[in-house]
């Protein structure tokens, strides 16, 4: 019934009754307390937190917590459901909450804007945690138009920052992940996310943090802890061991401010797509692209979008495939061609003066003409929605087109990103494509994927799309994801990032010494393990 209910009928007369039944939401998910936490501890923590942030900003009964339970990632056994939420508006309140969490041993899971869709949103790696929801902390502390830097709180969205820059006529660009409007520069950078301008590797352009530690102290990294700091957003390294990395993909502190570098708007921006028609062309594309990226002739993070991934953004699966089993390459190719797309659609852009762009364009055109790539621009692609989407992303523009992926396969909104990393060599592509198709196919899922080149590495970005309203399919998706992690892991392709559902398994791929080192840091910095236990496999 749920699986077959279409979106229009849900929005029509039946909407209220569907809503009341909690269909297709996380509302019915049952949370349990963390190991060792008694009901009285939880109640004590909740009462103390209410005194810090006010009654209206602590959520502890199951219905009130519903908005934090929603996630696209698979959770067939209900292990990732938060037990509450607390929403501070200042770093001082965060300090007080951390102390309460220690007192009652109640674990808290920080989120910035909670919109890492397909990585877990506001659900947790281990059960029984309260979400430390930092969205209300959304101050843009400073923007320096000369140094091209900003200092922001975790709850600031890319949209808020963009609006500030536009309204103040500051010729600075932001760099966004694919869910930019509602996601946070702090959250995305801390998860080591990427975007698609020359500033696409977000942690590279991060500079200085303020961190509330598990003991309630405030640490400022880099130059931020000097007297009258002048270069907090200008110089990344400070003095002594470089600490900022410890607070990314980790649970060693709560980042309450983060500095970032912004790209000056270039005089001219020119987006391109390079179209290839055959699945096996991906190896040649990577070989052609690597030297261009390393030499920075192609200056931005490159996306090589597979045909099926592109189609899944704007089409329903039923429009292009009604056969049994996963969609075939032939069906993808046919639908891609009909939509002016290739099997691989490689998006790059040039930034600078007309003269600079013309010189680089000559080199790029020659490189791709040699491997039968069609190099196309706005002149040929016109209002093609896929070109428009990527042309928007590559200039730090905002859209949510890729959320469309979540309803490729039924209405249930199932999406889990699997993102293994390899060196940027053509020889690394075919084996990965074959292995992904084999594992996805075994579980009945489509190969909807892209490759990305940051610099010398190749990210394989596989969208595991499933119907979360079908419990059997959710279970299959969970099994499939785990098999992807271990199957790729055996071949030396481990993930750069994962969702809450697989953090422990991905950490296993990095070996026992690495895990033990992280465990020692955790014991030293957070002896009661109250900050986000389970994040990145660190208990």
């Amino acid at each position: 019934m749920t699986a077959n209910m279409d979106r229009r009928s849900l929005l029509g007369a039946g909407v209220a009754s569907a809503a009341a039944a909690g269909l297709g939401t996380g509302a019915k998910a049952k949370a349990v307390l963390a190991p060792g936490v008694r009901k009285a501890d939880f109640k004590g923590a909740v009462a103390a937190m209410r005194k810090v942030v006010g009654d209206e900003w602590v959520f502890a009964d199951p219905d009130a917590v519903a908005p934090w339970k929603k996630s696209y990632t698979p959770d067939p056994y209900g292990k990732h459901i938060p037990v509450g939420a607390v929403c501070p508006e200042t770093a001082e309140q965060v300090q007080a909450i951390v102390k309460i969490a220690n007192q009652f041993r109640q674990p808290i899971w920080p989120v910035s804007t909670g919109k890492n869709m397909g990585y877990g949103q506001t659900t947790t790696a281990m059960p029984g945690q309260m979400i430390l929801d930092l969205k209300r902390m959304n101050r843009i502390i400073s923007v320096d138009p000369e140094l091209c830097t900003a200092l922001v709180e975790p709850g600031v969205t890319y949209r808020q920052l963009k609006d500030y820059l536009v309204e103040n006529n500051l010729p600075l660009w932001i760099d966004v992940p694919t869910v930019g409007p509602i996601a946070s520069p702090v959250g995305n950078t801390l998860d080591r996310g990427v975007g698609y301008t020359p500033y696409g590797e977000h942690f590279m352009v991060q500079c200085g943090m303020e961190v509330v530690l598990a003991d309630g102290e405030i640490l400022r990294t880099g130059m931020g802890s000097t007297k009258n700091p002048s270069a907090w957003q200008a110089f990344k390294w400070g003095y002594g061991p470089y600490l900022d990395g410890l607070f990314t993909q980790s649970n060693f502190g709560v980042v309450t401010k983060m500095g970032m570098w912004l790209m000056p708007a270039p005089p001219v921006y020119k987006p391109f797509v390079i179209r290839h028609r055959k699945m096996e062309d991906v190896a040649r594309i990577v070989e052609a692209m690597r030297p261009l990226r390393i030499a920075n002739i192609v200056p931005n993070v490159v996306l090589m979008m597979g045909g099926a991934y592109q189609l899944a953004m704007f089409k329903r699966r039923g429009e292009v495939w009604d056969g049994a089993g996963p969609i075939t390459d032939e069906a993808v190719s046919k639908a891609a061609t009909a939509n002016n797309l290739g099997m691989w659609n490689t998006y790059i852009a040039l930034y600078g003066t007309e003269g600079m762009i013309a010189e680089s364009e000559k080199i790029i055109r020659a490189a791709f003409a040699a491997i039968d790539g069609e190099v196309l621009t706005e002149a040929e692609m016109k209002d093609n929605p896929w070109f428009h989407h990527h042309a928007t992303l590559m200039q730090g523009g905002l859209n949510l087109d890729e959320i469309g992926l979540a309803r490729w396969r039924g209405n249930g909104g199932g999406l889990a990103w699997f993102a293994p990393v390899a060196p940027a060599k053509g020889s690394e592509t075919q084996g990965q494509v074959a292995l992904a198709k084999q594992i996805l196919g075994k579980h009945g899922f489509d190969y909807t994927a892209a490759f990305a080149i940051g610099s010398r590495e190749l990210h394989h970005i596989i969208a595991l799309l499933y119907d979360k309203s079908d419990p059997a399919e959710e279970k299959r998706a969970d099994d499939c994801y785990r098999e992807l992690v271990t199957g790729f892991g055996e071949r030396g392709w481990a993930s750069y990032r994962t969702g809450v559902h697989a953090m422990d398994l991905v950490a296993e791929q990095f070996g026992t010494v690495n895990r033990a080192f992280n465990a020692k840091l955790k014991d030293a910095l957070d002896p009661n393990h109250i900050l986000a236990p389970g994040k990145s496999g660190i208990a």
Partner: protein, 105 residues
């Protein structure tokens, strides 16, 4: 003449999606139009989510869907869209006219 000036000022306001946020200050309460532009309108009417304007959707159901994220829609928490913003937004969606520029399935 005065009428024309007022009209132009109104248009300029409508065009600016977000009230200016001042440095060091948290975002102030937004109008329904601002919330729709900054959040809802990226999917609804853009071929990602269904069109929701001009359909007389009951405000109560809109509020529920925003907080719970039915199906492929994410949920939006009171920290993202405040209770006051949501109440005004849901009422606005219920009575808003269809926008001919929007499209969706």
């Amino acid at each position: 003449m005065r009428r024309a000036v007022a009209l132009v000022a109104g248009l300029a306001l409508a065009g600016s999606a977000q009230a200016a946020q001042k440095l060091g200050e948290a975002q102030a309460q937004r109008s329904p139009e601002q919330v729709y532009s900054a959040v809802c309108g990226y999917c609804h009417g853009k071929n990602v989510g269904p069109v929701i304007r001009g359909r007389g959707l009951p405000a109560e159901a809109v509020e529920y869907q925003v907080r719970h994220g039915q199906n492929a829609m994410p949920a939006f928490r009171p920290t993202e869209i405040t209770p006051a913003e949501l109440k005004a937004l849901a009422a606005w969606i219920q009575t808003s006219a269809a926008d001919p520029k929007e499209h969706g399935q």
